[in-house]
Amino acid sequence: MDFQVVVLAGGTSKNLAPLVSKEVPKALLPVANRPVLSYVLELLEASNLKELIVVVEGEDAAFRVGGWISGAYVDRLHVEVAAVPEDVGTAGALRAVAHHLTANDVLIVSGDLVSDVPPGAVAATHRRHGAVVTTLLCYAPVSGPSDTGSSAGKDKVKKRRYNIVGLDPTRQLLLHIAAGAEVDKDIRVQKNMLRAVGQLEIRADLMDAHMYAFKRSVLQDVLDQKDAFHSIRQDVLPYLVKTQLRSEISANGLYKVEDNANGTVSSQNNLTWMSQHREIAPSAFQALLALSPRSPENVLRTHKCCAYIASKSKYCARLNSIQAFSDINRDVVGEASHLSGYSFSTQNNIIHPSAELGSKTTVGPQCMLAEGSQLGDKCSVKRSIIGRHCRIGSNVKIVNSVVMNHVTIEDGCLVQGSVICSNVHLQERVVLKDCQVGAGYVVTSGSEYKSEPLARK
């Protein structure tokens, strides 16, 4: 199908420090010992989208990502990696690669999305409605990742909110979306939008999963005209949604939209859509329209923004915070284990055959030991992931943690709820609770840390 896919893989995001670093850009953070990017790529591959453009912030990050992809997906996907300067924002990133885009519709996926929602479904909805933009909405996780966009400190809202979306009764048209800080303000809905549909469903339990299908021409127009727009989620999307009833996307983009829209109206009589046209519908009215001198420009130009709501059963999360990182790692070997693509043992854990376990060492369920890892005696691993070629001494407890590759943990350590990056060295009797240890860091023996990030200066 004529879809081009842009994966926004980000760069070395601030709020994932110290996990990310020059060596390990966000896209390559391991989730169950696979780079997070691989989840998106395989998701796309699964729905047979093989034309990919991966946009990475920063040259060397791009270089690394490119290196990894060409290694992993050499003959499976046709990927080109584009590097864009740091913090141009998602919109900026798209502007940078705009000239690559040729297809009718563009699917834009965030590289940190870990999900099993088929992009095909989103694309299909997009096509079916001839929409200008279709966005994937999924049920917001109850606990867990806090959205990067919305500024912190709005604590007075008890339940964390990601977006506030307004849908029509058929839950297909996206009529209102509040992202970022707007979420915590009062809800302001355009009246004429409400009038168009009669009934508007406002929901706070949905999250914009950052997977969009755009009509390419429209997207490019918007990006060109509104060069101030910085983020897709917070600028482009809300703008398109707001201007649905009176779209002013000029020229080529528009007419496509128009005839598409009419097409859908005539083909499947989508009542809602009709009623959206009701602005000009009332029968008594067409006559007037004819009479009126300026009837030609009276024709309302509208476009549609649609939404695809993933069912509750689907897993959908974005790796955009440390909290999210450990959550996702937990889920992927836990409840959402089908994502990881590994086969689980009877104890519901994964122990690579080449891993060596000392005597009296227990590996609980929902754990993962990658190849070449060695555990000494009397260790216990619970609900944790241990990367490749880690050397772990005796009497080590690892609970609710992620240990990346080539980590050395000496005897008697206790690691709890922490993230330990590659090449870290924990000397004897180190106690870590809720810490993040940056790559290559050495924790001196006997030291205790509680919920603080450790990284090389």
Binding site: G149, S151, V157, K158, K159, R161, I164, G166, A179, G180, A181, E182, D184, K185, D186, I187, R188, V189, Q190, K191, N192, L194, R195, A196, G198, Q199, L200, E201, I202, R203, A204, D205, K226, A228, F229, H230, S231, R233, Q234, D235, P238, Y239, K242, T243, L245, R246, E248, S275, R278, E279, I280, A281, P282, A284, F285, L288, L289, S292, N298, L300
Partner: protein, 730 residues
């Protein structure tokens, strides 16, 4: 508070009470509006014939059919007429399960007063149905009642269930087919709780703004503009006592519903019940009169349709093809034509070549030759001479149109008006025997005012009649001179002039269809509107964050500031009146109403009240700070109770504190040195609770230095408080 307690207890033993109390209904036999003037000057609205049966019959019949056992008819304006009618009607006679009892309360000038009157009568014992006497419905209340009672069992705060029905408003005029403005409601899809209600929307505002807190406890809500309010409410007794508690509630929706929704102080909830197949509507203005008549003729209100003489009053009708209803004794000329969707009452004669379509014609009318009547409503005993043309007009009893009269769309002819030959009555004009009430009278939009004014007028009518009998050219008294010329030679009646502002409403609410050019206007304006709305979308700066802020500061907050500013002034003014010795309850009342009208929170009230108290304290002459402190002490002591009335929760107390700070910084620097002292004082007089003060202090922790001065100033006081609280903890 006393009544509050009473409520609690009553609601607690409700379930068994519900069990035995018969289903009661309160029927307001008065619209408390002037929409139907001048007709309502002479006859109460509920007795006006709707498809040849008085409106009240429809309502009563419905009440009986849904199993209401006691119906209290509250007669306000023209109460005598209503009572007389009921006394001779079937309703009083027929024994059995349905008892109708008229209650008279002449001095009620609003729905609020009426309900308070009911409360004082103390006849309502359980849940009751509240309708106004102009409601037409065939819905069954069973499940609505069921739901209501279920909810009441669960939480006694669910005091009211509103009946709503889907009905799409016109996308151009933004008014429903019944001529009311569109209503915006927010409803919780699961519990059906009503979260937001806005009628009388001002079209200038292009945004609906919902309080974010609405979504605090429910993840999703539905926003409707395609629902019609049927004005059928199932209420619990609390509703009455609520009305009695706050006297300022007048209008059932604008004050009561808004009141409950806006300030959640009392935590009362309103729920909705949507009906689908059955019909329910209320006659609010001439347009709805027209629409509902048509609905009845099209049998939506079955079985309340003319040919099923549901209530004995109206004569037997025969339904012909294409919705033509004819009474048996209609004496119609062979060449006269009665077109679709028309009704002709008993004993009416229709002359040759006359045409009638989409019209209702009452009993005993005489219609001459070559008369054309379109979409008009002609009541009983009307005489229409030859060659008259009526389109979309309403003609009351006993009117006499001489030959060749033309009534343009939307004309209203009140009782016994006579129009001379070949007169053309301009569109939307209203003609009555009674002169138009003087301005201030008509301003206060009440039907009751006419009850007595009608009495006053009556002689003038007779005088006119006499003069006409004396000599055919009735210009004997100069008073009528102009008027009669208005309605032509040997015509009788005053043409009411409608103020320009009024005229805007005229076409909205009249019987006549909306003129095409109006629609066109709307169509274009709709475009313009969209244009603008886009512009302001575009004008927003780039990034989402900024966008929001700028937007809100753009107009919203701006207004808010203005509002709060003059709100403050108002409050202060009120307070000064209080100084002048108005008693506190009234002050509270006034402030309440202010709060509603500006729709402010209690915190705001508290804040501005405190503000004005301090100001008054400041007003006293004082040489040194001590004196000032003393004065303040006195003032606070004096208005403690008043202030306490608004300090229900910590937030409000904090608000007061912040206010105080602000004053010290800006308006009244004199207090600055005394801050901690007064703070202490406030605590002593336990106007402020210690948690309030502490949490205020904490809030300030984060703030920058300039904000902190007062926290610092009152440091030791705070410290002392903290220790105190710790002591308590141990």
């Amino acid at each position: 508070m006393a009544q509050k307690k009473g409520l609690r207890s009553s609601s607690s033993d409700d379930p068994e009470e519900l069990a035995r109390v018969p289903l009661q209904a309160v029927l307001l036999a008065d619209s408390f509006a002037t929409k139907f003037r001048p007709i309502t000057l002479e006859r109460p609205k509920v007795l006006l014939p709707l498809v040849n049966a008085p409106m009240i019959d429809y309502t009563l019949a419905w009440l009986e059919s849904v199993g209401v056992e006691e119906a209290f008819v509250l007669c306000c304006a023209h109460s005598q007429q209503v009572k007389d009618y009921l006394n001779k009607s079937q309703w009083m006679k027929q024994q059995g399960t349905f008892a109708v009892q008229p209650i008279e309360s002449r001095d009620s000038i609003s729905a609020g007063d009426a309900l308070r009157a009911i409360y004082n009568f103390g006849v309502i014992r359980g849940d009751f149905v509240l309708v106004s006497g102009d409601t037409v419905s065939n819905m069954s209340l069973k499940e609505a009642l069921q739901e209501h009672k279920e909810r009441r069992k669960k939480d006694p705060l669910a005091v009211m269930t509103m009946v709503i029905k889907q009905s799409k408003p016109s996308s151009l005029t933004h008014q429903t087919r019944l001529g009311n403005d569109e209503i915006l409601m927010a409803i919780d899809p699961d519990t059906k709780e009503l979260l937001y209600y806005e009628d009388k929307t001002d079209q200038s505002q292009r945004f609906i703004t919902l309080d974010k807190m609405l979504l605090a406890n429910t993840p999703t809500l539905h926003l409707h503009n395609d629902k019609q309010d049927c004005y059928i409410d199932i209420c619990s007794p609390e509703v009455l006592s609520l009305f009695t508690d706050n006297f300022d509630y007048q209008h059932l929706r604008r004050h009561f519903v808004k009141g409950l929704l806006v300030d959640d102080l009392m935590g009362y909830k309103i729920f909705t019940h949507e009906i689908h197949s059955s019909y329910a509507a209320r006659i609010d203005n001439f347009r709805s009169y027209d629409t509902i008549s048509k609905d009845i003729i099209q049998r939506w209100a079955y079985p309340m349709v003319p040919d099923v003489q549901y209530f004995g009053s109206c004569s037997q009708m025969k339904l012909d093809r294409l919705g033509i209803y004819k009474a048996p004794e209609v004496n119609q000329s062979r060449t006269a034509q009665i077109r679709a969707f028309s009704l002709v009452g008993n004993g009416t004669t229709i002359g040759d070549h006359s045409e009638i379509s989409n019209s209702v014609i009452g009993q005993g009318c005489t219609i001459g030759r070559n008369v054309s009547i379109q979409g008009s409503y002609i009541w009983d005993n009307v005489i229409i001479e030859d060659d008259c043309k009526l389109s979309h007009a309403l003609v009351c009893d006993g009117v006499h149109l001489r030959a060749g009269v033309v009534l343009e769309p939307g004309v209203i002819l009140s009782f016994k008006v006579e129009v001379g030959q070949k007169i053309v009555i301009p569109a939307y004009s209203k003609v009555s025997l009674l002169p138009q009430p003087s301005k201030q009278d008509s301003d206060e939009e009440l039907e009751y005012a006419d009850a007595n004014s009608g009495v006053v007028e009556s002689p003038s009518i007779t005088s006119i009649v006499n003069t006409r009998n004396v000599d055919p050219v009735p210009d004997s008294s100069d008073a009528e001179h102009s008027d009669t010329s208005e309605v032509g030679i040997s015509g009788v009646g005053y043409i009411w002039l409608t103020s320009e502002g009024g005229h805007e409403e005229e076409w909205r609410h009249s019987i006549a269809p909306i003129p095409a050019e109006k629609l066109m206007e709307f169509f274009l304006s709709a475009h313009a509107d969209l244009e603008v709305s886009n512009q302001d979308v575009n004008s927003l700066p780039a990034s989402g964050e900024l966008q929001v802020d700028s937007e809100s500061t753009g107009f919203d907050d701006g207004e808010d500031y203005r509002d709060s500013a003059d709100f403050e002034k108002e409050v202060e003014a009120t307070f000064h009146r209080a100084l002048a010795g108005v008693n506190q309850d009234n002050v509270i009342l006034e402030i309440n109403s202010l709060r509603l009208s500006y729709n402010m929170s209690h915190a705001d009230c508290a804040g501005s009240l405190f503000y004005s108290i301090m100001r008054s304290a400041l007003a006293f002459p004082h040489s040194c700070n001590r004196e000032l402190l003393l004065n303040t002490g006195k003032e606070l002591g004096r208005w403690k109770d008043l202030l306490k009335h608004y300090l229900k929760t910590i937030d409000e107390e904090i608000e007061v504190l912040l206010k105080f700070e602000e004053m010290c910084l800006e308006t009244a620097k004199e207090f600055a040195p005394l801050f901690s002292a007064i703070l202490n004082h406030l605590y002593e007089k336990d106007i402020l609770s210690e948690d309030a003060i502490l949490s205020w202090a904490e809030e300030k922790e984060g703030a920058d230095e300039s904000d902190k001065i007062f926290v610092k100033q009152s440091e030791q006081f705070l410290k002392w408080l903290r220790e105190a609280s710790e002591d308590e903890d141990e």
